[in-house]
């Protein structure tokens, strides 16, 4: 296996997550798409760490740990926001949130 196999797979996963985040109308599914994109980035970190001899000994792994922590915080706050929005509007469809629409 070569580095570009992992990078291409990760780009494909990123594109799938981006397509989901852009086309789905449910806020929870948009958040799932964002999570997929973050995970694709994590796979890139690990692949570069494993394949590039110039990379410092453990930077890739530590970067992935920090990213996982930030993404978990993002998911918790995002889902809490979705629940608060649902309480207010009785909907999680992003199309229905038009209060700021001019």
């Amino acid at each position: 296996m070569q580095l570009h196999h992992y990078l291409l797979f990760s780009a494909l996963l990123f594109a799938v997550g981006l397509a989901g985040a852009l086309t789905r109308r449910n806020a929870i599914l948009v958040l799932i798409g964002v999570e997929l994109m973050l995970n694709a980035a994590n796979l890139n970190f690990i692949a570069f760490w494993r394949f590039l001899p110039e990379a410092p000994a453990m930077h890739g792994l530590l970067f992935v740990l920090f990213t996982i922590a930030v993404a978990a915080a993002e998911a918790a706050v995002g889902l809490a926001l979705i629940i608060a929005i649902y309480r207010h509007y009785r909907s999680t469809q992003v199309d229905d949130l038009r209060s700021l629409h001019g």
Binding site: M1, Q2, A11, F14, A15, L22, M58, L62, V64, A84
Partner: protein, 174 residues
């Protein structure tokens, strides 16, 4: 080496596509868990053991359950909204995603960095090694992450608290 990679990538991609395209939200969440587990297996295959198990603990364990809870808490009992047809702009969104993938693939395939490197033997860093790094060179980022997680936990709880009943807060009819 080839066959496990092929199996894992196929499983992960198919479940990611399913998570983004299925109608039933609970099915989407379960496919998301499968995708994240496949990614954890890829990390393990690359020799990043701690990252793989952290991925399983945090994503498959916590985030997937959080998503399932959010879906159940926001489920009105009817699936009408969930099964609403995608908006007319879905062609645009899919086109943007394909364009992004094309750009990324072109950059990857023309880069001299991405090809010709064999796998570097890095051993397998133990949890002890990672802990030593986190407690010495990376102690400041670690503290910042701890602060961020605390703030995020408090913020999530406060945001999700029920709204106070005031006359102005009547929910608009949608």
């Amino acid at each position: 080496m080839e066959i496990p990679f092929a199996i894992l990538t196929a499983l992960t991609l198919v479940s990611a596509l399913a998570a983004m395209s299925l109608r039933n939200l609970v099915h989407c969440a379960l496919c998301l868990a499968l995708t994240l587990a496949g990614l954890a297996a890829l990390y393990l295959q690359l020799g990043a053991q701690f990252a793989g198990f952290a991925q399983i603990l945090v994503y498959v364990g916590a985030v997937a359950i959080l998503v399932v809870f959010a879906i159940l808490l926001t489920n009105r009992g009817d699936q009408a909204a969930a099964t609403r047809a995608p908006a007319r702009s879905w062609v645009t969104g899919a086109g943007i995603a394909v364009a992004v993938f094309a750009v990324l693939a072109r950059v990857i395939l023309t880069s001299s960095l991405a090809t010709g490197h064999p796998m570097v033997d890095r051993g397998s860093p133990t949890v002890k090694d990672l802990g030593m790094q986190l407690m010495t060179q990376y102690v400041l980022p670690l503290e910042v992450i701890g602060l961020l997680l605390t703030a995020a936990t408090l913020g999530a709880v406060i945001i999700a608290l029920p709204e106070k009943k005031t006359p102005a807060a009547a929910a608009p009819n949608h």
